[in-house]
Every structure is written in C-alpha cells, then in structure tokens.
C-alpha cells in the first residue's frame, strides 16, 4: 500500500515537472526574453518598466536559471505578479477559485448522484421503459452544447417562469461568505447546467459497469446464499461497479476545478474559467500561466486521490 502510494505520488511529481517544462517552453522560451518582458509589461509599458520586469523575472540570465527561478517561486506557492492588474497572480486566483469550487463541487454532487442512480436503475431494470427513458435523457443532454442548455434554463426559469420562480437570477455570483442563501440561489441553474451535460457519461458508464458486475460469479454466489436482491445490488454489486466511475469522477472534477469556461461565461460567474478567458483577451500572460499551472496541479492531485480511493475500494490494490 505504502509503496503503491509512493510510486503514484512519484509519477504525479513527474507529470507536474513535465507540465511546468511545457508551460515554460511555451511562454518563456518561445517568444524570447524581450517579448516576454514586453508582454508582461502590457501595452503601456515604458522601456524603463520593461527593463525592470526583465530583471525581476531573471530574463537576463541563462534559460535554466530562468526556469529554476520560476519553479522555485511556484514551489513556494507564488504564481507570479500580474503587472497588468498590478497585483499578485495569487490574489487574482484566490478571488476566482471559490466561485469555481462552489460551482464544481455542487454540480459534481448532482451529476454523480443522478448518474450513479440512473445507471444502477437502468442496469437492474435493463431494457425496461425506465432504462430507455434514462438512456434517451442521457443522449439528449450529452449532445446538447453547454451554452444552449445554460441559456435555455435561464430563459425558462429566470424569464418565462419569472412569476412562479421569482428567486432565479439571470446570472452573476454571490460569495457564500456574503450571503449563503443568495449563493445557493445563484448557483442552482449553473449547477443544473453543468451537472446535466456531465451526468450522461455517468449514467452510461454506471449502467455498463453494473451490467458487467451483475454477470459475475460472486453475484450468483450472493444470490445462492439467499441474500435479498436489494442487498445483492447495494452491497455486492455496486461497490465493484463504482471503480470505473470513481476514475471518471476524479478526472472530471480535477479538470473542472481548473475552470469551467462555458458555464462560468454563460452565468457570469467570476471563477477561474471566466478569469482565464478575460486574461487571454487582454494578453495577460502571468494570469494565463498561473491558471494553466494550477489546472495541471488539480488534475494531477485528482489522479492521486483516485488512486487512493482505488486502494480503499479494492483490497487487492491495498494489500499487494
């Protein structure tokens, strides 16, 4: 178990190292030091300012020193300084992150709960009307672009049904620390949007995985022991069937935490996705780099957590 974890964490560190090299090559080496300094300074940067930035980022030194300097800062949790906005990248990211986390965690709870539930029902009542209904719904939402669904929900709930559903706002975001109820109300439609487009994959995956497991010999054993069907499904089948679902959920949540670009845009949620789109429009390089590194870190951490969950679920992983 310990060895397994050490190996996986080692791999994670390697991946992060590779990601940092990629970002470094793309943003520092590609354009060259002068261009980097000029971009960092922004359109209004004076030659004096560009020189200062060049020195601050160690752009006047050899490449490996530039890299070490940059990574050294990253390792201390310093994502750099945003000369465009005149504040540290950490501050900008720190303001955006809670919104993205709020959006992703709430949506993930919805899509996992619905996906696993509908998948299990579809598998247990395979080929029934319910199964076909869930499958059709899954395909419908899966093939719908996120912005179409998002604007449709806004149109229906916040506009057409305004008289009935007074509390649905068109868009924007209220931090939970400001007003928990408003935070919740503002996030209902974004949560639904993100959850509905994502849940389809979970319905299908859980259904397939569950059908596989229900054909296993140990399920026959459980039934031959006289276990009630409910218990066979909940205790014997579901735990095995969840393994691939956990993998997918880890990857999806890890990726989404790096920013949910379309949903955040549609609902005007100032999260990481919204921030990076702004930054790209303004050629705000430090922000783009900071969020890119952060997103890569989230995916890698999510993978490590998935590995740990594997070990929790499956004793064969834990004990070998």
């Amino acid at each position: 178990m310990t060895r397994f974890l050490i190996r996986r964490i080692g791999q994670a560190i390697l991946v992060l190292f590779a990601a940092s090299i990629a970002v470094f090559l793309l943003f520092f080496v590609g354009p060259g030091p002068d261009q980097v300094a000029r971009t960092f300074a922004g359109r209004l940067g004076t030659p004096q300012r560009i020189l200062e930035i060049k020195h601050a980022l160690h752009l006047d030194q050899p490449l490996y020193l530039q890299y070490l300097h940059w990574v050294g800062n990253l390792l201390q949790g310093n994502l750099g300084f945003d000369y465009y906005k005149g504040q540290s990248v950490n501050t900008v990211v720190g303001q955006a992150l809670p919104a993205t986390v709020s959006l992703v965690v709430g949506a993930a709870i919805l899509w996992i709960a619905y996906g696993v539930f509908s998948g299990v029902v579809s598998a247990v009542r395979s080929r029934s009307l319910l199964d076909r209904g869930f499958t059709t719904a899954a395909l419908f939402f899966y093939s719908m672009p996120t912005f179409v669904l998002g604007y449709t929900l806004i149109f229906i709930f916040a506009y057409e049904l305004y008289r009935v559903t007074k509390f649905f706002p068109f868009s924007s975001y209220v931090p939970i620390t400001t007003n928990p109820w408003q935070w919740f109300v503002h996030l209902i439609l974004p949560w639904l949007t993100l959850a509905m487009v994502t849940a389809a994959a979970y319905t299908r995956l859980t259904r397939t995985s569950m059908l596989d497991v229900l054909g296993e010999d140990y399920i026959r054993t459980a039934r031959s022991k006289g276990m009630p069907e409910q218990r066979v499904i909940r205790v014997h089948a579901l735990r095995s069937a969840l393994t691939p679902v956990v993998t997918l959920a880890g990857l999806d949540i890890g990726t989404a935490l790096g920013g949910v670009i379309i949903t955040e845009q549609v609902f005007g949620i100032p999260g990481l996705g919204w921030t990076i789109v702004q930054a790209i429009g303004q050629q705000d390089l430090p922000i783009i780099m900071g969020i890119a590194v952060l997103a890569a870190t989230f995916v890698v951490i999510a993978n490590v957590i998935v590995d740990i969950l594997y070990a929790v679920l499956d004793p064969r992983v834990r004990l070998n």
């Binding site: 140990y218 054993t221 031959s224 022991k225 006289g226 009630p228 499956d314």
Partner: protein, 346 residues
C-alpha cells in the same frame, strides 16, 4: 419421499438467434444424505437444470416441477426462495476465485450468510465462521478468517466456499463442477472435504461434473445428460461396469484409465447438437456408432435397462445384455464408426 424430486424440467432462453432449449424434460430424485452425480459435456444442460431449481437463471422460460420438502421451488415466492437458498440448499461453483467477492473478507462473506438466515450476534457468527474454516481444513482459521479471497490458494478458496455452503447445515448441497478449476492434486482433497462434510452433516449432494473420474470417487447414483436430456441413470457400479447407452460408453472410452495404458483414448467423434433447433430424434444419433434409422426420427424414451433396479436409459438398443451385444456388432459392421471427423469429445 425423496428430498428433491425434479419432474419434466424444461428450461429455454430467448436469444438473438432464436430460442435455446437448454433443458428438455429432465426428471430425477435426490434421496436425503445420498450423492447424485450429473455427468455431461459443456452445454448438456447439467448446470442450467440445477441453477434453475435454485431460481438463479434469469430470463428463462421454465416448466415442470422441482419439489423440495413438499414445496415446488419453481413456483415458490421470492421470499420463500431466499429463505431456502443458502439455508436449506447451498451451492458451490466451478471457479472459487471468481465465486468469492474480491472486495470482502472470507470470514465476512460467511458471517453475512449466517446473519441473513439466523438472528445471531456478530461475535457468534464470527466464531462459527472460524469453526467452519477449521472443519474444512484451513490452517490458523482464527487468523485466516480476516483474509481476503486473493490471499487464499485455489484449493483453500474452494474449501472456504464449502465452509460457507455448510454454514447453516443445509439438507442439500449442489456442487457445480467443484474441482474443475483446481490442480489435480488439490481436486482429490476438495472431494474428500465435501465427503467429510456430507458424512458429518448428513447432507445430500448433487455433484455436477464432466469428469467421470470424480463420479467414480463419490457418487451413489449417476445421471448422464446430453443435449438437454437424460441419457441414462444408474447406480455407480452399474454405470461403470454395465452401462447401456452408447453415449455413456463413449464417455467411458474417452477416460484415460479405462482402456488400460496401452490403448489409445477414443474420443467421441463430432460435436454436441445445437440446442437452437434440436434434431427430432435422439440427440446423440449424429455421433452414435450404433445409429439406426428410427434413432433419427424418434426420440427414445427413458426405459428400464438391464437387470439392476433403477437403471434406465434412453436408447433403442435392446435392453438385454446378450441381444444388445449382438446388435451392436452387426451395426458396427454395417457402418463402421469413425466416419465422422474426430473432434474431441468432452
């Protein structure tokens, strides 16, 4: 009154290719404390018939009767079946690795069953699990009870399955190819464990196998199945020394020890019949060395064969030994066997 009385059991499955008639009118009795061996190739319907009795074949069309302790298992309610499964009729299966849940401890899987059927405390259930593991010969059962199945060897896993099956002292144990997935050296040990449990608890056993060697070891009565039908039923002695049906003869001749070391093994030529649209006559007719014209059109009924009481066989060959030998000789001369391509029997 036999412990289990199966009458005219028919099982079919609807598949994409059509209806598969897996079991076609099978009847047999199991007496309390006795061992019934069911032999046949893959696809003979031997496993399907017992799994149907246990209500474990889903989506199958079933007819017939299977009366156990006065209750027809084929029409029993879900609740009744759950109370019977495990407690009154227990099962063990071919592959003990895949038959135990890989995520749960061996002891937990035994305790779960005890607690499902009896209201006992967790501690008592655990004590019984340890005791059962000791009975089936697991060393250090007090420690191994907390092991996961993958930490057991193949033979130990099957012993654990037997321990679980015997946990509630069932009246009937159905062992579905219990030794097939095991090493030859372990096979005999596992059979001994089943026999010892049977003696200790007075359990009746249905032993399903394709291996006549296993039957020779343990069965009291033997049922030979082919193409979803019963071909022959006899006590063990009669089956090995005075069998009637040509299919039984074919099975015996494909046994390594039977013909002596010098003789080549004689596989039964041809393939088992497709059960999608079984031929109208005897299912074995296409492969039978003694096939006659009526075999291809009329399915022979099970009828008394030979001198032993209870010996029945579904074959048109004469039932008196001397007449049979005479006719067999003639039939073999007229149409020599082995014209069909030999494509491995069992």
């Amino acid at each position: 009154m036999p412990l289990l009385q199966v009458e005219e059991l028919r099982v079919s499955f609807r598949t994409a290719d059509g209806i598969v008639q897996a079991v076609r009118g099978v009847s047999y009795d199991v007496e309390a404390g006795q061992t019934l061996g069911i032999v046949g190739e893959s696809g003979s319907g031997k496993s399907v018939s017992t799994q149907t009795i246990m209500g474990l074949t889903r989506g199958a069309q079933v007819s017939g009767r299977a009366v156990f302790e006065g209750k027809d298992l084929l029409t029993a309610s879900t609740g009744d079946m759950q109370r019977i499964r495990g407690a009154k009729i227990a099962m063990i299966f071919q592959d003990p690795l895949t038959s135990l849940h890989p995520y749960y401890k061996v002891g937990w899987q035994i305790m779960e069953m005890i607690q499902q059927h009896e209201s006992v405390s967790k501690d008592d259930a655990r004590k019984r699990a340890v005791e059962l593991l000791r009975l089936v010969g697991i060393p250090h059962p007090d420690r191994r009870v907390d092991d996961y199945p993958h930490q057991f060897s193949g033979g130990m896993r099957q012993r654990a399955m037997i321990a679980m099956a015997m946990a509630l002292n069932p009246a009937l144990l159905i062992a579905d190819e219990p030794t097939t997935a095991l090493d030859v050296t372990v096979q005999a040990q596992v059979l001994r464990v089943i026999q010892r449990m049977q003696e200790m608890f007075g359990t009746a056993v249905i032993l399903i196998t394709h291996d006549l060697g296993v039957i020779a070891d343990v069965a009291d009565e033997v049922l030979v199945m082919y193409g979803g039908e019963v071909m022959e039923r006899a006590d063990r002695r009669t089956l090995f020394f005075n069998s009637h049906h040509p299919y039984t003869e074919g099975l015996l001749q494909s046994l390594p020890a039977y013909g002596g070391a010098r003789e080549r093994l004689r596989p039964i030529p041809g393939q088992p019949p497709s059960l999608l649209s079984p031929p109208p006559g005897c299912p074995f007719a296409p492969r039978c060395p003694y096939v006659m014209d009526r075999c291809r059109t009329e399915d022979p009924p099970l009828a008394a064969a030979g001198e032993e009481p209870g010996h029945i066989s579904a074959c048109w060959l004469p039932h008196r030994g001397s007449e049979r030998a005479e006719l067999r000789r003639k039939l073999l001369e007229a149409e020599p066997a082995g014209t069909a391509p030999s494509a491995g029997g069992a």
